[in-house]
């Protein structure tokens, strides 16, 4: 039952990514050129509702569908890893025109070449794992 709910959320996510064109390389390029409000509108409106909803859940101690308390895990404190890792991610996001979620969506949409990006992303994650202890965080 829970597994099915994850599957349906994933399907819903995939459809929204495709239909909103957030999975389009062109939309990412256009966003970084500041020539359209589209991507900023998507992220901005998701964020406004996100901030509101998270506050509501926290203030009212709202429970999950399964009656469990909802925990928000704070991110570890730090600066270097977030700015450097963020910049590296941003370079890839703009070059491949896709972030991890849309990669999966595009596989389903039938773009074989996106598998190269996925392979690169898995390799990149592996390289990070190998170097993790040597990198400043």
């Amino acid at each position: 039952m829970r597994t099915l709910s994850y599957l349906f959320i994933g399907i819903f996510f995939g459809i929204v990514m495709y239909k909103s064109e957030a999975a389009s390389w062109f939309r990412i390029y256009e966003m970084f050129q500041f020539q359209s409000f589209h991507m900023y509108g998507i992220i901005g409106s998701a964020l406004m509702l996100g901030v509101l909803g998270v506050q509501l859940i926290k203030r009212n101690n709202i429970k999950s569908f399964f009656g469990e308390p909802i925990k928000f895990v704070p991110k570890d404190k730090g600066f270097t890893r977030y700015i450097v890792g963020g910049i590296i991610f941003g370079l890839g996001w703009a070059l491949a025109g896709s972030c991890p979620g849309p990669i999966y969506t595009l596989i389903g949409a039938g773009y074989v070449s996106i598998l190269v990006v996925l392979l690169g992303a898995i390799l990149g994650t592996f390289i990070y794992g190998l170097l993790q202890k040597k990198l400043p965080h």
């Binding site: 256009e30 050129q33 992220i43 450097v84 389903g108 039938g110 690169g120």
Partner: protein
């Protein structure tokens, strides 16, 4: 119902993304797509190579199910919910891209110059896709999250580290588009 087959505007897509995040929160999980890449590494045996991959990946199986769903969703979106996949980006953006050699700008969902089957046989476009992927995977794990984990989940929870990461995403993206693209293309 005709609107379903058109591109969905931001004021539909943004709230739906927030809804997806809350659905995951309400089933006791969190919205973050890049951590799956670590899980896939571990499944391939990376835990023998580095401690970073030595974790209980089976506890992350739920997120792999989300991934399978995202693939199915992409299939449904592209094949059943779309008549014309061409992305109507700003005409100025189209002109800039055509100057860079992207003649498919304005007529396709992804640029043929990078994503067509023919482009797979071209060393340059193959290298661009692979390097793009490497940067995405490495950067996302270094920063501890990607667009979904930081820009949506983290910022919704008012996390300062997520704000730093998102600023990083934009520094990197702007540098790529404005400084490196003219050199690459």
């Amino acid at each position: 119902m005709e609107w379903i087959f058109e591109p969905w505007p931001w004021y539909v897509a943004g709230p739906l993304i927030a809804l997806i995040m809350f659905l995951l929160i309400f089933v006791g999980k969190q919205f973050g797509m890049s951590s799956n890449l670590r899980t896939m590494c571990t499944m391939c045996g990376a835990d023998n190579a580095a401690d970073f991959f030595n974790f209980d990946w089976k506890a992350q199986r739920w997120n792999l199910v989300v991934v399978v769903g995202a693939v199915i969703g992409g299939f449904i979106g592209a094949h059943f919910l779309t008549n014309d996949a061409a992305v109507a980006i700003n005409p100025e953006t189209i002109a800039t891209l055509q100057d860079l050699g992207f003649s498919s700008a304005g007529n396709a969902y992804l640029p043929d110059e990078l994503f067509s089957i023919d482009a797979l046989l071209n060393m340059k476009s193959l290298a661009i896709l692979l390097i793009g992927g490497l940067l995405i995977g490495f950067g996302a794990r270094y920063a501890g999250g990607c667009t979904s984990g930081h820009a949506i989940s983290g910022l919704s929870n008012l996390q300062l580290p997520s704000l730093i990461a998102v600023i990083g995403f934009f520094i990197g993206g702007l540098f790529m588009i404005h400084v490196l693209f003219p050199l690459i293309f």
